[in-house]
Amino acid sequence: MIDIERKKVLIRDSYGGDALTPEPESYGKMVWRRFRKHKLAMVGLYILLFMYALAIFAPLLATQSYEAVDPPNKLKPPSMEHFMGTDHIGRDVFSRVIWGSRISLSVGFVAAAVAVALGVLIGSTAAYFGGRVDDMLMRFTEIIMAFPTFFLLLTIVSIVERSIFNIMLVIGLTSWPSLARMVRGQILSLREQEFTEAARALGATDARIIFRHILPNAMAPVIVSTTMRIGGAILSESSLSFLGLGVPEPYPSWGSILNAGRTYLLQAPWITTFPGIFIFLTVLAFNYVGDGLRDALDPRLKD
Protein backbone atom coordinates (compact mmCIF):
# COMPACT_ATOMS: atom_id res chain seq x y z
CA MET A 1 0.00 0.00 0.00
CA ILE A 2 1.26 3.43 -0.95
CA ASP A 3 1.00 5.96 1.83
CA ILE A 4 -0.86 9.18 1.15
CA GLU A 5 2.22 11.44 1.02
CA ARG A 6 3.93 9.36 -1.60
CA LYS A 7 0.73 9.20 -3.64
CA LYS A 8 0.56 12.99 -3.66
CA VAL A 9 4.15 13.23 -4.86
CA LEU A 10 3.45 10.70 -7.57
CA ILE A 11 0.45 12.66 -8.76
CA ARG A 12 2.35 15.95 -8.76
CA ASP A 13 5.13 14.36 -10.76
CA SER A 14 2.76 12.92 -13.31
CA TYR A 15 1.46 16.43 -14.03
CA GLY A 16 4.96 17.54 -14.94
CA GLY A 17 6.02 19.56 -11.92
CA ASP A 18 9.61 20.14 -13.02
CA ALA A 19 10.87 23.07 -15.06
CA LEU A 20 11.86 21.08 -18.14
CA THR A 21 8.40 19.92 -19.23
CA PRO A 22 6.06 22.68 -20.44
CA GLU A 23 2.67 23.35 -18.85
CA PRO A 24 0.19 20.83 -20.22
CA GLU A 25 -2.08 22.34 -22.84
CA SER A 26 -5.78 22.48 -21.92
CA TYR A 27 -8.05 20.05 -23.74
CA GLY A 28 -10.03 22.81 -25.43
CA LYS A 29 -6.87 24.50 -26.68
CA MET A 30 -5.55 21.24 -28.07
CA VAL A 31 -8.80 20.51 -29.88
CA TRP A 32 -8.86 24.00 -31.39
CA ARG A 33 -5.22 23.75 -32.50
CA ARG A 34 -5.90 20.44 -34.22
CA PHE A 35 -9.20 21.62 -35.68
CA ARG A 36 -7.51 24.66 -37.27
CA LYS A 37 -5.21 22.40 -39.23
CA HIS A 38 -8.18 20.83 -41.03
CA LYS A 39 -8.53 23.34 -43.88
CA LEU A 40 -11.93 22.27 -45.12
CA ALA A 41 -13.32 22.26 -41.59
CA MET A 42 -12.17 25.86 -41.22
CA VAL A 43 -13.85 26.75 -44.52
CA GLY A 44 -16.99 25.07 -43.17
CA LEU A 45 -16.73 27.04 -39.95
CA TYR A 46 -16.52 30.34 -41.86
CA ILE A 47 -19.52 29.38 -43.99
CA LEU A 48 -21.50 28.61 -40.84
CA LEU A 49 -20.48 31.88 -39.18
CA PHE A 50 -21.64 33.67 -42.32
CA MET A 51 -24.98 31.82 -42.37
CA TYR A 52 -25.65 32.48 -38.68
CA ALA A 53 -24.74 36.13 -39.19
CA LEU A 54 -27.36 36.27 -41.95
CA ALA A 55 -29.91 34.72 -39.63
CA ILE A 56 -29.12 37.06 -36.72
CA PHE A 57 -29.03 40.24 -38.78
CA ALA A 58 -31.92 39.24 -41.07
CA PRO A 59 -34.03 42.32 -40.21
CA LEU A 60 -31.12 44.60 -41.21
CA LEU A 61 -30.11 42.68 -44.34
CA ALA A 62 -33.47 41.86 -45.89
CA THR A 63 -34.53 44.58 -48.31
CA GLN A 64 -38.22 43.73 -47.91
CA SER A 65 -40.58 41.84 -45.69
CA TYR A 66 -40.67 38.14 -46.46
CA GLU A 67 -44.40 38.27 -47.04
CA ALA A 68 -44.75 41.50 -49.03
CA VAL A 69 -46.57 40.52 -52.22
CA ASP A 70 -46.33 42.58 -55.39
CA PRO A 71 -48.21 40.77 -58.17
CA PRO A 72 -47.34 43.21 -61.01
CA ASN A 73 -43.66 42.40 -60.39
CA LYS A 74 -43.98 38.64 -60.30
CA LEU A 75 -41.33 36.25 -61.69
CA LYS A 76 -38.84 39.07 -62.31
CA PRO A 77 -35.23 37.97 -62.90
CA PRO A 78 -32.45 39.06 -60.53
CA SER A 79 -31.73 42.78 -60.71
CA MET A 80 -30.29 45.55 -58.55
CA GLU A 81 -33.69 45.96 -56.97
CA HIS A 82 -34.30 42.25 -56.38
CA PHE A 83 -30.91 40.55 -55.99
CA MET A 84 -32.41 37.10 -56.44
CA GLY A 85 -35.47 38.02 -58.49
CA THR A 86 -39.09 37.67 -57.40
CA ASP A 87 -41.40 34.69 -57.04
CA HIS A 88 -44.84 33.91 -58.49
CA ILE A 89 -46.64 36.48 -56.36
CA GLY A 90 -43.92 39.09 -56.55
CA ARG A 91 -42.19 38.42 -53.23
CA ASP A 92 -38.51 39.30 -53.08
CA VAL A 93 -36.56 36.01 -53.15
CA PHE A 94 -33.46 37.57 -51.57
CA SER A 95 -35.38 38.73 -48.51
CA ARG A 96 -37.12 35.38 -48.24
CA VAL A 97 -33.81 33.51 -48.42
CA ILE A 98 -32.33 35.76 -45.71
CA TRP A 99 -35.34 35.29 -43.42
CA GLY A 100 -35.40 31.65 -44.43
CA SER A 101 -31.92 31.18 -42.99
CA ARG A 102 -33.42 31.96 -39.56
CA ILE A 103 -36.07 29.30 -39.94
CA SER A 104 -33.93 26.64 -41.61
CA LEU A 105 -31.03 27.05 -39.19
CA SER A 106 -33.24 27.02 -36.12
CA VAL A 107 -35.17 23.99 -37.33
CA GLY A 108 -31.86 22.20 -37.85
CA PHE A 109 -30.53 23.20 -34.46
CA VAL A 110 -33.62 22.44 -32.38
CA ALA A 111 -34.35 19.16 -34.19
CA ALA A 112 -30.78 18.00 -33.62
CA ALA A 113 -30.96 19.08 -29.97
CA VAL A 114 -34.15 17.07 -29.44
CA ALA A 115 -32.62 14.03 -31.12
CA VAL A 116 -29.41 14.28 -29.12
CA ALA A 117 -31.18 14.83 -25.80
CA LEU A 118 -33.38 11.78 -26.37
CA GLY A 119 -30.56 9.69 -27.78
CA VAL A 120 -28.18 10.42 -24.92
CA LEU A 121 -30.88 9.95 -22.30
CA ILE A 122 -32.14 6.64 -23.67
CA GLY A 123 -28.71 5.31 -24.63
CA SER A 124 -27.07 6.08 -21.30
CA THR A 125 -30.05 4.87 -19.26
CA ALA A 126 -29.92 1.57 -21.11
CA ALA A 127 -26.18 1.24 -20.62
CA TYR A 128 -26.26 2.29 -16.97
CA PHE A 129 -29.08 0.06 -15.77
CA GLY A 130 -28.44 -2.85 -18.10
CA GLY A 131 -30.54 -6.00 -17.78
CA ARG A 132 -34.24 -5.66 -18.45
CA VAL A 133 -34.26 -1.87 -18.73
CA ASP A 134 -31.57 -2.14 -21.37
CA ASP A 135 -33.47 -4.90 -23.14
CA MET A 136 -36.72 -2.96 -23.25
CA LEU A 137 -35.18 0.32 -24.33
CA MET A 138 -33.11 -1.29 -27.04
CA ARG A 139 -36.04 -3.31 -28.39
CA PHE A 140 -38.04 -0.08 -28.59
CA THR A 141 -35.13 1.63 -30.35
CA GLU A 142 -34.97 -1.22 -32.84
CA ILE A 143 -38.68 -0.92 -33.55
CA ILE A 144 -38.40 2.78 -34.30
CA MET A 145 -35.27 2.19 -36.38
CA ALA A 146 -37.08 -0.36 -38.52
CA PHE A 147 -39.36 2.27 -39.98
CA PRO A 148 -37.90 4.01 -43.00
CA THR A 149 -37.03 7.34 -41.38
CA PHE A 150 -38.41 9.62 -44.04
CA PHE A 151 -41.70 7.69 -44.32
CA LEU A 152 -42.13 7.84 -40.58
CA LEU A 153 -41.34 11.55 -40.61
CA LEU A 154 -43.91 12.16 -43.35
CA THR A 155 -46.52 10.10 -41.54
CA ILE A 156 -46.19 11.92 -38.24
CA VAL A 157 -45.94 15.33 -39.86
CA SER A 158 -49.19 14.60 -41.67
CA ILE A 159 -51.09 13.92 -38.45
CA VAL A 160 -49.82 16.79 -36.31
CA GLU A 161 -50.73 20.41 -36.73
CA ARG A 162 -48.42 22.08 -39.23
CA SER A 163 -46.23 24.58 -37.42
CA ILE A 164 -42.53 25.37 -37.35
CA PHE A 165 -42.25 24.09 -33.80
CA ASN A 166 -43.93 20.78 -34.64
CA ILE A 167 -41.67 20.26 -37.63
CA MET A 168 -38.61 20.68 -35.40
CA LEU A 169 -40.03 18.33 -32.82
CA VAL A 170 -41.02 15.60 -35.26
CA ILE A 171 -37.65 15.63 -37.06
CA GLY A 172 -36.00 15.28 -33.65
CA LEU A 173 -38.40 12.56 -32.52
CA THR A 174 -37.71 10.41 -35.56
CA SER A 175 -33.93 10.66 -35.60
CA TRP A 176 -32.74 9.74 -32.10
CA PRO A 177 -32.49 5.91 -32.38
CA SER A 178 -29.09 5.65 -34.05
CA LEU A 179 -27.70 8.09 -31.47
CA ALA A 180 -29.13 6.11 -28.58
CA ARG A 181 -27.43 3.00 -29.92
CA MET A 182 -24.16 4.80 -30.40
CA VAL A 183 -24.15 6.29 -26.89
CA ARG A 184 -25.03 2.94 -25.34
CA GLY A 185 -22.27 1.18 -27.27
CA GLN A 186 -19.74 3.85 -26.32
CA ILE A 187 -20.55 3.68 -22.63
CA LEU A 188 -20.54 -0.11 -22.55
CA SER A 189 -17.13 -0.27 -24.17
CA LEU A 190 -15.67 2.56 -22.07
CA ARG A 191 -16.83 0.81 -18.93
CA GLU A 192 -14.57 -2.11 -19.77
CA GLN A 193 -11.52 -0.03 -20.70
CA GLU A 194 -8.33 -0.19 -18.65
CA PHE A 195 -8.46 3.42 -17.51
CA THR A 196 -11.90 2.91 -15.99
CA GLU A 197 -10.65 -0.17 -14.25
CA ALA A 198 -7.62 1.75 -13.05
CA ALA A 199 -9.80 4.52 -11.68
CA ARG A 200 -11.95 1.97 -9.90
CA ALA A 201 -8.88 0.26 -8.48
CA LEU A 202 -7.69 3.61 -7.14
CA GLY A 203 -10.97 3.86 -5.26
CA ALA A 204 -12.79 6.45 -7.38
CA THR A 205 -16.51 6.75 -6.69
CA ASP A 206 -19.13 5.76 -9.26
CA ALA A 207 -20.01 9.40 -9.84
CA ARG A 208 -16.38 10.29 -10.45
CA ILE A 209 -15.98 7.44 -12.90
CA ILE A 210 -19.12 8.41 -14.77
CA PHE A 211 -18.53 12.16 -14.95
CA ARG A 212 -14.76 12.24 -15.13
CA HIS A 213 -13.87 9.15 -17.16
CA ILE A 214 -16.83 7.82 -19.10
CA LEU A 215 -18.89 10.83 -20.17
CA PRO A 216 -16.02 12.99 -21.50
CA ASN A 217 -14.87 10.09 -23.64
CA ALA A 218 -18.38 9.26 -24.79
CA MET A 219 -19.08 12.89 -25.65
CA ALA A 220 -16.63 13.17 -28.56
CA PRO A 221 -18.61 11.01 -31.00
CA VAL A 222 -21.83 12.62 -29.76
CA ILE A 223 -20.51 16.09 -30.60
CA VAL A 224 -19.40 14.95 -34.04
CA SER A 225 -22.69 13.27 -34.76
CA THR A 226 -24.67 16.27 -33.47
CA THR A 227 -22.85 18.57 -35.88
CA MET A 228 -23.62 16.36 -38.84
CA ARG A 229 -27.17 15.84 -37.60
CA ILE A 230 -27.91 19.57 -37.74
CA GLY A 231 -27.06 19.43 -41.44
CA GLY A 232 -29.19 16.32 -41.82
CA ALA A 233 -32.13 17.96 -40.06
CA ILE A 234 -31.88 20.98 -42.38
CA LEU A 235 -32.01 18.58 -45.32
CA SER A 236 -35.02 16.77 -43.83
CA GLU A 237 -36.86 20.02 -43.27
CA SER A 238 -36.17 21.16 -46.81
CA SER A 239 -37.34 17.83 -48.24
CA LEU A 240 -40.54 18.08 -46.20
CA SER A 241 -41.11 21.67 -47.26
CA PHE A 242 -40.31 20.73 -50.83
CA LEU A 243 -43.12 18.18 -50.71
CA GLY A 244 -45.40 20.83 -49.28
CA LEU A 245 -45.51 19.28 -45.81
CA GLY A 246 -42.96 21.44 -44.04
CA VAL A 247 -42.94 24.98 -42.74
CA PRO A 248 -46.37 26.48 -43.57
CA GLU A 249 -46.82 29.56 -45.77
CA PRO A 250 -46.10 32.44 -45.65
CA TYR A 251 -43.04 31.63 -43.53
CA PRO A 252 -40.00 31.12 -45.70
CA SER A 253 -37.64 28.22 -45.20
CA TRP A 254 -35.11 27.37 -47.87
CA GLY A 255 -37.11 24.27 -48.76
CA SER A 256 -40.46 26.05 -48.98
CA ILE A 257 -39.03 28.78 -51.23
CA LEU A 258 -37.74 26.03 -53.49
CA ASN A 259 -41.12 24.33 -53.46
CA ALA A 260 -42.85 27.52 -54.55
CA GLY A 261 -40.44 27.85 -57.47
CA ARG A 262 -40.93 24.30 -58.66
CA THR A 263 -43.89 25.11 -60.90
CA TYR A 264 -42.05 28.05 -62.49
CA LEU A 265 -38.82 26.23 -63.18
CA LEU A 266 -38.61 27.28 -66.81
CA GLN A 267 -39.81 30.90 -66.47
CA ALA A 268 -38.03 31.65 -63.20
CA PRO A 269 -35.17 29.24 -62.40
CA TRP A 270 -33.72 31.73 -59.89
CA ILE A 271 -36.45 30.93 -57.36
CA THR A 272 -35.12 27.39 -57.01
CA THR A 273 -31.43 28.08 -57.63
CA PHE A 274 -30.63 30.39 -54.74
CA PRO A 275 -32.27 28.56 -51.82
CA GLY A 276 -30.76 25.34 -53.18
CA ILE A 277 -27.27 26.84 -53.00
CA PHE A 278 -27.90 27.93 -49.41
CA ILE A 279 -29.10 24.49 -48.32
CA PHE A 280 -26.22 22.81 -50.06
CA LEU A 281 -23.51 25.12 -48.65
CA THR A 282 -24.87 24.92 -45.11
CA VAL A 283 -25.18 21.14 -45.03
CA LEU A 284 -21.73 20.80 -46.60
CA ALA A 285 -20.29 23.16 -43.98
CA PHE A 286 -21.82 21.18 -41.11
CA ASN A 287 -20.41 17.96 -42.55
CA TYR A 288 -16.93 19.44 -42.94
CA VAL A 289 -16.97 20.88 -39.43
CA GLY A 290 -18.14 17.51 -38.13
CA ASP A 291 -15.31 15.79 -39.97
CA GLY A 292 -12.79 18.27 -38.56
CA LEU A 293 -14.14 17.77 -35.06
CA ARG A 294 -13.88 14.01 -35.41
CA ASP A 295 -10.17 14.28 -36.14
CA ALA A 296 -9.58 16.98 -33.53
CA LEU A 297 -11.43 15.21 -30.72
CA ASP A 298 -9.95 11.77 -31.24
CA PRO A 299 -7.22 11.40 -28.63
CA ARG A 300 -5.76 8.40 -30.43
CA LEU A 301 -4.81 10.47 -33.44
CA LYS A 302 -1.53 12.10 -32.43
CA ASP A 303 -0.38 15.14 -34.31
Partner: protein, 323 residues
Amino acid sequence: MRSYIIRRILQMIPLLIGISIVNFTIMHLAPGDPVNLLVERNATAEQRERIKELYGLNDPIHIQYIRWISHVLRGDFGKSFVDGQSVSKTILERLPYTLYLNFLIMVVIYLIAVPVGIISALKQYSKFDHIMTTLAFLGQAVPSFWIGLILIYFFGLKLDWLPISGVGTIGLNMRTAGFWATFADRAAHVVMPVAVVAFGSLTGVARYMRSSMLEVIRQDYVRTARAKGLPDKVVIVKHALRNALLPIVTLLGSELPLLFGGMVVIESIFSWPGIGLLSIRAILQRDYQIVMAINMMGAVLMVLGNFLADLLYVVVDPRIKYS
Protein backbone atom coordinates in the same frame (compact mmCIF):
# COMPACT_ATOMS: atom_id res chain seq x y z
CA MET B 1 -26.30 -22.68 -39.77
CA ARG B 2 -29.89 -23.86 -39.72
CA SER B 3 -30.29 -23.25 -36.01
CA TYR B 4 -28.84 -19.76 -36.48
CA ILE B 5 -31.42 -18.97 -39.13
CA ILE B 6 -34.26 -20.35 -37.05
CA ARG B 7 -33.17 -18.35 -34.02
CA ARG B 8 -32.93 -15.16 -36.03
CA ILE B 9 -36.39 -15.70 -37.50
CA LEU B 10 -37.82 -16.30 -34.04
CA GLN B 11 -36.19 -13.08 -32.83
CA MET B 12 -37.85 -11.19 -35.67
CA ILE B 13 -41.35 -12.09 -34.51
CA PRO B 14 -41.52 -9.86 -31.40
CA LEU B 15 -39.84 -7.09 -33.35
CA LEU B 16 -42.47 -7.29 -36.08
CA ILE B 17 -45.28 -7.34 -33.52
CA GLY B 18 -43.79 -4.25 -31.89
CA ILE B 19 -43.54 -2.54 -35.25
CA SER B 20 -47.17 -3.27 -36.07
CA ILE B 21 -48.34 -1.94 -32.69
CA VAL B 22 -46.34 1.28 -33.02
CA ASN B 23 -47.57 1.71 -36.57
CA PHE B 24 -51.19 1.18 -35.60
CA THR B 25 -50.91 3.48 -32.59
CA ILE B 26 -49.39 6.34 -34.57
CA MET B 27 -52.18 6.20 -37.11
CA HIS B 28 -54.81 6.18 -34.40
CA LEU B 29 -53.32 9.21 -32.72
CA ALA B 30 -54.28 11.10 -35.85
CA PRO B 31 -56.78 13.80 -35.00
CA GLY B 32 -60.04 14.06 -36.87
CA ASP B 33 -62.63 11.37 -37.25
CA PRO B 34 -61.79 8.97 -40.08
CA VAL B 35 -65.49 8.66 -40.59
CA ASN B 36 -65.38 12.11 -42.20
CA LEU B 37 -63.56 10.57 -45.14
CA LEU B 38 -66.19 7.90 -45.53
CA VAL B 39 -69.42 9.87 -45.50
CA GLU B 40 -70.88 12.75 -47.45
CA ARG B 41 -70.36 16.11 -45.83
CA ASN B 42 -74.07 16.58 -45.10
CA ALA B 43 -74.58 13.09 -43.66
CA THR B 44 -76.87 12.82 -40.67
CA ALA B 45 -75.61 11.64 -37.30
CA GLU B 46 -77.48 8.43 -37.87
CA GLN B 47 -75.73 7.73 -41.18
CA ARG B 48 -72.36 8.48 -39.61
CA GLU B 49 -73.11 6.07 -36.81
CA ARG B 50 -74.04 3.35 -39.31
CA ILE B 51 -70.80 3.80 -41.25
CA LYS B 52 -68.81 3.76 -38.01
CA GLU B 53 -70.49 0.50 -37.03
CA LEU B 54 -69.88 -0.92 -40.49
CA TYR B 55 -66.13 -0.19 -40.38
CA GLY B 56 -65.85 -1.25 -36.75
CA LEU B 57 -64.69 2.19 -35.67
CA ASN B 58 -66.71 2.02 -32.46
CA ASP B 59 -64.80 -0.96 -31.11
CA PRO B 60 -62.07 -0.45 -28.52
CA ILE B 61 -58.63 0.18 -30.02
CA HIS B 62 -57.13 -3.22 -29.16
CA ILE B 63 -60.02 -5.00 -30.88
CA GLN B 64 -59.48 -2.81 -33.92
CA TYR B 65 -55.77 -3.64 -33.82
CA ILE B 66 -56.36 -7.38 -33.62
CA ARG B 67 -58.79 -7.22 -36.50
CA TRP B 68 -56.34 -5.16 -38.56
CA ILE B 69 -53.31 -7.36 -37.85
CA SER B 70 -55.21 -10.59 -38.53
CA HIS B 71 -56.15 -9.23 -41.94
CA VAL B 72 -52.61 -7.97 -42.56
CA LEU B 73 -51.23 -11.43 -41.86
CA ARG B 74 -53.44 -12.69 -44.67
CA GLY B 75 -52.07 -10.00 -46.95
CA ASP B 76 -55.15 -7.82 -46.69
CA PHE B 77 -54.53 -4.20 -45.74
CA GLY B 78 -58.20 -3.24 -45.97
CA LYS B 79 -59.88 -0.76 -48.26
CA SER B 80 -58.77 2.77 -48.94
CA PHE B 81 -60.91 5.30 -47.07
CA VAL B 82 -60.71 7.61 -50.06
CA ASP B 83 -61.54 5.57 -53.14
CA GLY B 84 -62.70 2.27 -51.64
CA GLN B 85 -60.09 0.28 -53.59
CA SER B 86 -58.26 -2.62 -52.00
CA VAL B 87 -55.06 -1.23 -50.48
CA SER B 88 -53.06 -4.37 -51.28
CA LYS B 89 -54.12 -4.17 -54.92
CA THR B 90 -53.22 -0.49 -55.19
CA ILE B 91 -49.79 -1.13 -53.68
CA LEU B 92 -49.10 -4.15 -55.85
CA GLU B 93 -49.95 -2.09 -58.92
CA ARG B 94 -47.38 0.55 -57.91
CA LEU B 95 -44.69 -1.71 -56.52
CA PRO B 96 -43.19 -2.90 -59.85
CA TYR B 97 -42.37 0.69 -60.83
CA THR B 98 -40.51 1.35 -57.60
CA LEU B 99 -38.68 -1.99 -57.76
CA TYR B 100 -37.72 -1.38 -61.38
CA LEU B 101 -36.29 2.04 -60.55
CA ASN B 102 -34.58 0.73 -57.42
CA PHE B 103 -33.01 -2.16 -59.27
CA LEU B 104 -31.49 0.10 -61.93
CA ILE B 105 -30.23 2.50 -59.25
CA MET B 106 -28.53 -0.32 -57.34
CA VAL B 107 -26.87 -1.65 -60.50
CA VAL B 108 -25.55 1.78 -61.42
CA ILE B 109 -24.36 2.52 -57.88
CA TYR B 110 -22.43 -0.72 -57.50
CA LEU B 111 -21.03 -0.73 -61.03
CA ILE B 112 -19.50 2.69 -60.46
CA ALA B 113 -18.85 2.76 -56.72
CA VAL B 114 -16.90 -0.49 -56.43
CA PRO B 115 -14.17 0.31 -58.99
CA VAL B 116 -14.01 3.92 -57.77
CA GLY B 117 -13.54 2.78 -54.19
CA ILE B 118 -10.84 0.30 -55.16
CA ILE B 119 -8.87 2.87 -57.15
CA SER B 120 -9.21 5.40 -54.31
CA ALA B 121 -7.80 2.86 -51.87
CA LEU B 122 -4.94 1.70 -54.08
CA LYS B 123 -3.96 5.29 -54.79
CA GLN B 124 -4.63 6.68 -51.34
CA TYR B 125 -4.03 10.45 -51.08
CA SER B 126 -3.63 10.76 -54.85
CA LYS B 127 -5.44 13.44 -56.82
CA PHE B 128 -8.10 10.89 -57.78
CA ASP B 129 -8.64 9.97 -54.15
CA HIS B 130 -8.96 13.63 -53.15
CA ILE B 131 -11.48 14.36 -55.89
CA MET B 132 -13.52 11.34 -54.84
CA THR B 133 -13.46 12.40 -51.19
CA THR B 134 -14.66 15.86 -52.17
CA LEU B 135 -17.40 14.39 -54.34
CA ALA B 136 -18.47 12.18 -51.45
CA PHE B 137 -19.02 15.25 -49.29
CA LEU B 138 -20.86 17.02 -52.10
CA GLY B 139 -23.08 14.00 -52.72
CA GLN B 140 -24.10 13.90 -49.08
CA ALA B 141 -24.85 17.60 -48.83
CA VAL B 142 -26.71 18.27 -52.05
CA PRO B 143 -30.49 17.97 -51.70
CA SER B 144 -31.61 15.35 -54.20
CA PHE B 145 -34.66 17.34 -55.22
CA TRP B 146 -32.45 20.30 -56.10
CA ILE B 147 -30.20 18.21 -58.34
CA GLY B 148 -33.36 16.76 -59.84
CA LEU B 149 -34.72 20.22 -60.64
CA ILE B 150 -31.41 21.32 -62.14
CA LEU B 151 -31.30 18.26 -64.39
CA ILE B 152 -34.94 18.80 -65.40
CA TYR B 153 -34.19 22.44 -66.19
CA PHE B 154 -31.19 21.74 -68.41
CA PHE B 155 -31.80 18.35 -69.98
CA GLY B 156 -35.57 18.34 -69.91
CA LEU B 157 -36.63 21.91 -70.55
CA LYS B 158 -33.72 23.88 -72.05
CA LEU B 159 -32.11 21.24 -74.23
CA ASP B 160 -35.24 19.10 -74.51
CA TRP B 161 -33.17 15.90 -74.63
CA LEU B 162 -34.95 13.90 -71.96
CA PRO B 163 -38.56 13.50 -70.89
CA ILE B 164 -39.20 14.98 -67.44
CA SER B 165 -41.89 12.74 -66.05
CA GLY B 166 -43.41 9.30 -66.05
CA VAL B 167 -42.09 5.86 -66.94
CA GLY B 168 -42.61 6.02 -70.68
CA THR B 169 -44.53 7.82 -73.38
CA ILE B 170 -48.20 6.89 -73.12
CA GLY B 171 -49.35 4.77 -76.04
CA LEU B 172 -45.83 3.92 -77.08
CA ASN B 173 -45.10 0.25 -76.53
CA MET B 174 -43.65 -2.83 -78.18
CA ARG B 175 -46.68 -3.33 -80.35
CA THR B 176 -47.00 0.21 -81.66
CA ALA B 177 -43.33 1.14 -82.02
CA GLY B 178 -41.24 -2.02 -81.94
CA PHE B 179 -38.64 -3.15 -79.46
CA TRP B 180 -35.83 -0.66 -79.99
CA ALA B 181 -37.98 2.46 -80.05
CA THR B 182 -39.70 1.31 -76.85
CA PHE B 183 -36.40 0.50 -75.24
CA ALA B 184 -34.99 3.94 -76.11
CA ASP B 185 -38.11 5.63 -74.80
CA ARG B 186 -38.07 3.77 -71.45
CA ALA B 187 -34.33 4.35 -71.08
CA ALA B 188 -34.71 8.08 -71.71
CA HIS B 189 -37.35 8.29 -68.99
CA VAL B 190 -35.24 6.52 -66.41
CA VAL B 191 -31.92 8.32 -66.92
CA MET B 192 -32.58 11.36 -64.75
CA PRO B 193 -34.20 9.67 -61.73
CA VAL B 194 -31.42 7.08 -61.65
CA ALA B 195 -28.72 9.73 -62.01
CA VAL B 196 -30.12 11.83 -59.15
CA VAL B 197 -30.37 9.00 -56.63
CA ALA B 198 -27.14 7.36 -57.74
CA PHE B 199 -25.21 10.60 -57.27
CA GLY B 200 -26.48 10.91 -53.72
CA SER B 201 -25.77 7.32 -52.61
CA LEU B 202 -22.91 6.28 -54.85
CA THR B 203 -20.29 8.25 -52.99
CA GLY B 204 -21.22 6.61 -49.71
CA VAL B 205 -20.80 3.12 -51.14
CA ALA B 206 -17.52 4.16 -52.77
CA ARG B 207 -16.20 5.43 -49.42
CA TYR B 208 -17.20 2.16 -47.82
CA MET B 209 -15.44 0.17 -50.52
CA ARG B 210 -12.38 2.37 -50.11
CA SER B 211 -12.05 1.82 -46.38
CA SER B 212 -12.73 -1.89 -46.73
CA MET B 213 -10.00 -2.19 -49.36
CA LEU B 214 -7.58 -0.09 -47.29
CA GLU B 215 -8.10 -2.39 -44.34
CA VAL B 216 -7.51 -5.52 -46.39
CA ILE B 217 -4.33 -4.42 -48.17
CA ARG B 218 -2.69 -3.88 -44.79
CA GLN B 219 -3.33 -7.48 -43.77
CA ASP B 220 -0.54 -9.98 -43.31
CA TYR B 221 -1.73 -12.34 -46.01
CA VAL B 222 -1.52 -9.57 -48.59
CA ARG B 223 2.00 -8.74 -47.47
CA THR B 224 2.86 -12.45 -47.65
CA ALA B 225 1.50 -12.67 -51.18
CA ARG B 226 3.60 -9.67 -52.16
CA ALA B 227 6.66 -11.06 -50.37
CA LYS B 228 6.56 -14.31 -52.23
CA GLY B 229 6.85 -12.33 -55.45
CA LEU B 230 3.35 -12.53 -56.88
CA PRO B 231 2.61 -9.84 -59.46
CA ASP B 232 0.66 -6.85 -58.17
CA LYS B 233 -2.40 -7.69 -60.25
CA VAL B 234 -2.73 -11.15 -58.78
CA VAL B 235 -2.27 -9.85 -55.25
CA ILE B 236 -4.90 -7.18 -55.68
CA VAL B 237 -7.50 -9.16 -57.56
CA LYS B 238 -7.11 -12.58 -55.97
CA HIS B 239 -6.04 -11.81 -52.42
CA ALA B 240 -7.22 -8.34 -51.56
CA LEU B 241 -10.30 -7.65 -53.67
CA ARG B 242 -12.15 -10.83 -52.82
CA ASN B 243 -11.90 -10.10 -49.13
CA ALA B 244 -12.60 -6.40 -49.46
CA LEU B 245 -15.84 -7.15 -51.30
CA LEU B 246 -17.30 -9.06 -48.34
CA PRO B 247 -18.68 -6.07 -46.43
CA ILE B 248 -19.92 -4.53 -49.68
CA VAL B 249 -22.03 -7.59 -50.42
CA THR B 250 -23.72 -7.28 -47.07
CA LEU B 251 -24.28 -3.58 -47.60
CA LEU B 252 -26.72 -4.59 -50.35
CA GLY B 253 -29.10 -6.06 -47.80
CA SER B 254 -29.25 -2.96 -45.67
CA GLU B 255 -29.18 -0.50 -48.56
CA LEU B 256 -32.32 -1.79 -50.22
CA PRO B 257 -34.93 -0.57 -47.72
CA LEU B 258 -33.10 2.74 -47.38
CA LEU B 259 -33.51 3.39 -51.06
CA PHE B 260 -37.13 2.38 -50.75
CA GLY B 261 -37.71 5.16 -48.22
CA GLY B 262 -35.81 7.74 -50.22
CA MET B 263 -38.08 7.24 -53.20
CA VAL B 264 -40.76 9.67 -52.03
CA VAL B 265 -38.93 12.79 -53.10
CA ILE B 266 -37.56 11.40 -56.34
CA GLU B 267 -40.87 9.92 -57.48
CA SER B 268 -42.55 13.18 -56.63
CA ILE B 269 -40.14 15.21 -58.79
CA PHE B 270 -40.30 12.90 -61.79
CA SER B 271 -43.97 11.89 -61.39
CA TRP B 272 -42.83 8.29 -61.21
CA PRO B 273 -45.96 6.22 -60.50
CA GLY B 274 -44.45 4.07 -57.71
CA ILE B 275 -44.87 3.60 -53.98
CA GLY B 276 -43.29 6.97 -53.14
CA LEU B 277 -45.79 8.95 -55.17
CA LEU B 278 -48.60 6.82 -53.78
CA SER B 279 -47.49 7.48 -50.21
CA ILE B 280 -47.29 11.24 -50.63
CA ARG B 281 -50.75 11.26 -52.20
CA ALA B 282 -52.11 9.08 -49.39
CA ILE B 283 -50.56 11.34 -46.78
CA LEU B 284 -51.98 14.50 -48.32
CA GLN B 285 -55.43 12.89 -48.57
CA ARG B 286 -55.15 11.41 -45.08
CA ASP B 287 -55.77 7.96 -46.51
CA TYR B 288 -54.50 6.26 -43.37
CA GLN B 289 -55.10 2.70 -44.54
CA ILE B 290 -52.56 3.17 -47.32
CA VAL B 291 -50.09 5.07 -45.12
CA MET B 292 -50.23 2.29 -42.52
CA ALA B 293 -49.70 -0.37 -45.15
CA ILE B 294 -46.69 1.40 -46.69
CA ASN B 295 -45.10 2.04 -43.29
CA MET B 296 -45.62 -1.59 -42.34
CA MET B 297 -44.14 -2.82 -45.61
CA GLY B 298 -41.18 -0.49 -45.33
CA ALA B 299 -40.45 -1.67 -41.78
CA VAL B 300 -40.77 -5.34 -42.70
CA LEU B 301 -38.42 -4.78 -45.63
CA MET B 302 -35.94 -3.13 -43.30
CA VAL B 303 -36.05 -6.04 -40.86
CA LEU B 304 -35.70 -8.56 -43.67
CA GLY B 305 -32.92 -6.51 -45.25
CA ASN B 306 -30.95 -6.52 -42.01
CA PHE B 307 -31.53 -10.24 -41.62
CA LEU B 308 -30.37 -10.81 -45.18
CA ALA B 309 -27.29 -8.66 -44.59
CA ASP B 310 -26.32 -10.67 -41.50
CA LEU B 311 -26.97 -13.91 -43.32
CA LEU B 312 -24.89 -12.87 -46.31
CA TYR B 313 -22.10 -11.92 -43.96
CA VAL B 314 -22.10 -15.36 -42.46
CA VAL B 315 -22.24 -16.97 -45.89
CA VAL B 316 -19.43 -14.98 -47.47
CA ASP B 317 -17.09 -14.85 -44.48
CA PRO B 318 -16.16 -18.31 -43.23
CA ARG B 319 -14.40 -16.85 -40.18
CA ILE B 320 -17.69 -15.80 -38.62
CA LYS B 321 -19.41 -18.36 -36.46
CA TYR B 322 -23.18 -18.57 -36.26
CA SER B 323 -23.52 -17.74 -32.65
